[in-house]
């Protein structure tokens, strides 16, 4: 069985999106620059010439897109932050292999937590 304990205090449930208030405040502050991007007359213009040769076209514009933008390099900063969260948050005991992640609570606390979970008979993550 797996046990995972969170020693973090529980918070009230919230929606998984940016807080509406924050975003609105954001919007008000930075509204001006966005308005500049909205052109009043945004109609496709009549061309000056009826037709032109390929030399009058931007040749370099052909190779402007990258096919694969999967970064297989680990985002170091993110990885460190996530490890920290994991380390601070939980330990995991697997039945056959003991996987102890080092963390910062005392041995005593750890043992007592493990006992209380066992007593509850639950396998809660």
């Amino acid at each position: 069985f797996l046990i995972s304990l969170s020693i973090r205090s529980s918070r009230p449930s919230r929606r998984m999106s940016s807080k509406a208030n924050d975003a609105k405040a954001d919007k008000k502050e930075t509204k001006e620059p966005v308005e500049n991007l909205i052109a009043e007359d945004d109609e496709f213009e009549e061309f000056k010439e009826e037709t032109w040769e390929a030399t009058q076209e931007d040749q370099e514009d052909e190779g402007l897109w990258e096919d694969n933008w999967d970064d297989d390099d680990v985002d170091v900063q993110f990885s460190e932050q996530l490890r920290k969260e994991i380390v601070n948050g939980i330990f995991v005991i697997e039945e056959n292999s003991l996987l102890f992640l080092p963390f910062l609570i005392s041995e005593e606390m750890r043992v007592s937590k493990a006992c209380s979970v066992q007593q509850q008979g639950g396998v809660k993550i």
């Binding site: 931007d58 514009d61 680990v74 993550i125």
Partner: protein, 441 residues
């Protein structure tokens, strides 16, 4: 230069009518030589000295130019040029409603002109080459000038009145001209009026998009189902690029992303390099589609063509930063909605989440290689917290829901162990988004 050095010193009535007369002679000369482009340029006042232009505008506003044109120009050309110059002069004087009135006459005389010249072409002997060497449809540039004048007059009139009545009426009138062009003709296609369909449809598209009346754009495209009409690429570049820009936008609205990408890419590549604003307009629709199809614009694209709104969304997608993405989407919501790309940008959300989970997977793998296929849902919750996204602490419902959608969309290969893990495939846990079926829409 076009008027052979005619000068105007002071605006007295005799010189004015001389100036207009001289102008009309030049027009007649070019008509006689079947120089369509030159006639069009004259009518649009390209290269016309300002004194002469003033005289014409005055004659246009007083409508005196109509009789002058009828006297000097032969057949249907007289009333055509007369009504054109009246409409143009009214437009120039910001008298939109009168410009539109004159434009309606112009439309009638355009039909008359096309009928006359078309009859002549149909009655001609097509075994012999045309005298003068010009194609039978030499006057199409002039028709384009007329349709442009119709469109701009409608804009001005409706701006004055504050509604879209004239533009709707003009749509009907311009469609009549389109019908003229696709009639059966004796001339071979490239010399026929069928070479006028693209620019006429482009003008119609412009009005449709301006007044947001898009339902007729689909049957307009059916015009090109006619096998006797050459392929778009065989029309002059300015017309083909414009057409593909609009068709690309229509396909985008229909969620036909693959076709939209083709058209917009063609338009972008073949757009004249000096027409920078048009290039930007094409990119405005091409970039969102490319992002949706997991093709990243290289940095030099944004250096050359700045689009801060797309750049930040792209960064958010790449780094799987859900908060940056949500914030950017909210910040630019008005802009995206106004441009009609909001839905596309919203569809990128799943890629943000997919990339975030991939980062969790990689971190997990670095902690414990043996169990890297099992990603605790808790770790995903931690990752969202790092992104400063608020997340339910009581259960994993929201996370499981988003993960389930990614699995359904084939962006992740795996299954969910309820409230415990995302278990991913050992072969290709994160398939290339390009290969995913959702891209094949």
């Amino acid at each position: 230069r076009l008027l052979g050095g005619l000068r105007l010193s002071g605006l007295n009535r005799v010189s004015m009518s001389q100036a207009v007369g001289g102008f009309l002679s030049k027009v007649q000369q070019h008509i006689g030589r079947e120089n369509g482009r030159q006639v069009a340029k004259l009518l649009e006042m390209v290269g016309v000295p300002s004194g002469v232009k003033q005289a014409i505008r005055a004659a246009g506003r007083s409508k005196g130019v109509v009789n002058m044109a009828k006297r000097q120009l032969r057949g249907p050309w007289g009333p055509f040029v007369g009504s054109y110059l009246v409409s143009a002069s009214m437009l120039d004087a910001n008298r939109g409603i009168e410009a539109a009135e004159a434009a309606k006459d112009l439309q009638k005389f355009t039909i008359k002109l096309m009928d006359t010249l078309l009859s002549a072409a149909n009655n001609a002997d097509w075994d012999a080459p045309r005298p003068g060497g010009k194609p039978a449809n030499w006057y199409l540039p002039v028709v384009n000038s007329a349709v442009l004048q119709l469109r701009l007059s409608a804009y001005a009139a409706d701006d004055e009145k504050g509604n879209t009545d004239e533009q709707r009426e003009m749509l009907r009138l311009i469609r009549e001209l389109l019908v003229c062009c696709i009639r059966k003709q004796k001339a071979p296609p490239k010399q026929s009026l069928k070479m006028g369909v693209v620019f006429i449809v482009n003008h119609i598209f412009k009005i449709c998009f301006r007044i947001n009346l898009l339902r007729m754009t689909h049957d307009l495209q059916r015009t090109f189902a006619d096998p006797s009409i050459p392929k778009i690429e065989e029309f002059p570049k300015s017309q083909a690029v414009t057409y593909k820009y609009f068709r690309g936008r229509i396909q985008l609205m229909d969620e036909k992303y693959s076709e939209a990408e083709k058209d917009l890419e063609w338009a972008f590549q073949h757009c004249h390099k000096g027409a920078r604003k048009n290039k930007m307009r094409i990119l405005q629709y091409l970039i969102p589609i490319k992002l949706l199809r997991s093709k990243k614009p290289k940095p030099r694209l944004f250096q050359k063509y700045p689009f801060p709104q797309f750049e930040v969304i792209m960064k958010a997608v790449q780094s799987g930063d859900l908060k940056m993405y949500n914030d950017a989407l909210m910040h630019y919501e008005d802009l995206f909605v106004q441009q009609g790309v909001f839905l596309v940008m919203e569809k990128l959300k799943k890629f943000v989440f997919r990339n975030l989970i991939k980062k969790v997977y990689l971190t997990n793998a670095s902690i414990s290689d043996a169990t890297k296929w099992q990603i605790p849902l808790l770790y995903i919750r931690f990752a969202l917290k790092i992104c400063r996204v608020e997340v339910d602490e009581d259960n994993f419902d929201e996370i499981e829901c988003m993960v389930a959608n990614l699995i359904y969309d084939k962006l992740i290969r795996g299954y969910i162990a309820h409230e415990r893990y995302l278990v991913v495939s050992k072969k290709i846990p994160f398939p290339d988004p390009n290969a995913a079926p959702t891209q094949q829409q």
